[in-house]
Symmetry: C2
Subunit: 397 residues, 2 copies
């Protein structure tokens, strides 16, 4: 018998995937489904950067440098400078999406059996990359009651073992939208210094902060060798399909190692490097309109949620996600029910059950993640559906 690998079996399916057939079923019945389940922004990709690709003048679609085009990396230096991050182009390795930056970071710094501590709830695909790299994710729980703030030092310290090699944060956070404060970032610095750990920092949503200041892990002093930034242009410029990200670090050994993984896969995609390079020249106020739009949506969403009986939703400081606690028995069952058995004026909504974002079994059972990637009108319609659904749902608590 041919057998799959154990890791192939262990590899977690997307937590939302099992709901997709139910969403398709609802649509077949003629029901309109509002998708609050995925992080695909509806914001238009800026025309000038699409034009950069359309008008690119070359005859052969060649491999780029394995670390990405030098012209793009030099341009990224300017971008990072604007965000207060001082690096040179040799400290940037362009990756195929933020996904590859995470995988390369795991592969280069951790061996099979090594451990990475991640505040939960966390981006579900970290689990997938951990299985691919054979490493163990150790969750440290953040709580909805205090808005998913960074757990205290003692919670981290209690989890450190001789196998612990890294802490991974996502800031602002997917799925909670939590934005870490300067004090929290300094706390993380203390922990990684004390235990001599890598600090992986996924900053995909850096530009999407509403009110608070974004403190990058790369801003921290004295931890140049510890900090590894995992970045992507996907959300920043509504360019998810481009598959362009970057791994950025001042740790030369890590760069040399990551470079070998980068060489094995030859190069990151060429077209979207052109797009990414052009994006650095977008006017500085490009993000203003986008941020204003997202903030408006967040305000509507959070207000609507908290106005529903038994629902609580902390106000997220960034990204375009919110986590809400619902008065229900089981979010997995509820989200399926929304698609399979419910509609309101011919409409329903798709949400992501929070269980998939927790590493600790049993947590998040009455929580859902909502991505506010719909305009305010549609968001309100979706909230009308949710409000009604919570009245009708048989498993209401």
């Amino acid at each position: 018998m041919l057998t799959l690998s154990s890791r192939g079996k262990l590899m977690p399916p997307s937590p939302i995937r099992k709901l997709v057939p139910y969403a398709e079923g609802a649509k077949k019945k003629g029901i309109k489904v509002y998708h609050l389940n995925i992080g695909q922004p509806d914001i238009e990709t800026p025309e000038p950067i699409l034009n950069a690709v359309r008008h690119a003048d070359f005859k052969v679609l060649e491999y780029s440098h394995s670390a990405g085009n030098e012209s793009y990396r030099r341009k990224l230096v300017q971008y990072y400078k604007k965000t207060g991050i001082e690096v040179d182009h040799t400290q940037i390795i362009v990756t195929t999406g933020g996904s590859e930056a995470i995988l390369f970071g795991f592969m280069s710094c951790l061996d099979a059996g090594d451990e990475v501590i991640i505040p939960e709830p966390f981006y579900a695909n970290y689990n997938g990359f951990a299985v691919a790299a054979g490493i163990k994710v150790v969750p440290v729980t953040s709580h909805i009651e205090n808005g998913f703030a960074l757990p205290p030092i003692s919670a981290f310290s209690a989890l450190v073992t001789p196998k612990t090699k890294a802490i991974l944060i996502c800031n602002p956070n997917n799925p909670t939208g939590y934005l870490y404060s300067r004090e929290e970032m300094e706390t993380l610095k203390q922990i990684v210094q004390e235990h001599n750990l890598y600090l992986f920092s996924d900053e995909a949503y850096r530009e999407f902060c509403y009110g608070g200041e974004h403190i990058s892990a790369m801003h921290l002093k004295g931890v140049d060798d510890n900090v590894i930034l995992m970045d992507t242009i996907s959300k920043r410029y509504s360019a998810c399909g481009g598959r362009i990200g970057a791994l950025v670090t001042r740790n030369r050994e890590v760069l040399d190692s990551v470079m070998k993984f980068a060489q094995a896969r030859l190069s990151p995609p060429s077209f979207a490097q052109i797009l990414g390079e052009a994006a650095v020249d977008l006017p500085d106020n490009y993000f203003d309109a986008t941020k204003t739009e997202y903030q408006k949506r967040r305000d509507v969403l959070v207000k609507r949620l908290n106005a529903m009986e038994g629902v609580s939703c902390p106000n997220p400081g960034g990204a375009f996600y919110a986590m809400a606690r619902l008065p229900i028995d089981d979010a997995d069952v509820f989200c399926q029910w929304l698609l399979e058995s419910f509609s309101f004026n011919g409409q329903t909504l798709m949400l992501a059950p929070a269980s998939g974002f927790y590493g600790t079994p049993g947590l998040g059972k009455d929580e859902v993640r909502l991505a506010y990637v719909l305009n305010v009108h549609d968001l309100n319609k979706a909230m009308d559906c949710l409000e009604q659904a919570l009245k009708e749902y048989p498993g209401k608590k």
Copy 2:
């Protein structure tokens, strides 16, 4: 002390990389370097498929389906049909280059410590993906004396252990250009059936066969569950920078597993999927001109090489590589010397030492790989340089 992972340390650097500074040095001295060291075709990417990207009409550069756009996969079904491969679109997972197809295949079918048998010399980056996946490459040696033909069954059988899970071939081969015959493919089928192994088949150069017929592993009968095709559009349409490939198999379990790895990294690049989809509509004679050109180059190259004293080069049946044995002490030293200490009429050439393509230490010491990705005029100039170099080289045998 922060430490790198063992796999980060084990990860092999590109075998050509160490020569790059010497090539740059030569260029700084004003010497023209003919690059026969890399598989970057000089053939122009077909204008209609570049135009498909230029004129693509969308407002948001969205994630595609994790398995690739359905429209593209359905189009690929037509492409494969033309090559005698009957599959449906659910048996195709679009990957980020052939590279990712190899990695996903390794990850899904083999666990750390499992073994894959690969005829050597082989594409050096297989080593990198094996280190990333923690698996062991077991080389079975093919020999320049018989043109790098498939080693006999007995050579494979002698290497099979309880850990052996797969055989990987590249057909036509990089770096040897060897095209497996129907009999050899049937032999491989026998071996994988007898020992119950996966047959990974890298067919990146399928279209580049000069004379002989290409027998795909997917053509073999009765091994539907064993065969996993790793494919790419990189060389086929001179679209290396697009980073679009595919994993194709009729094994449903493998597809389900690969799909989970595909979901973790979200989607393959969108732009080049548009290009790949348009490529299937290129006229059937598109490859004729390209093949004629490569065949002309091959003929010139092989003739020139074999005319040099002490040089032997089997006539490759496909791809755009040739392996030659040179009358030298050490190809690594020779290739460096070509760049560092030699020039002829202000020109020199860059070659890939064969040692990097062998898994068995010490093999290929007097062999080099030549990629005929230059026009005939430049190829002849490069061969003039090589001929002269072999007269001057101090380590001549």
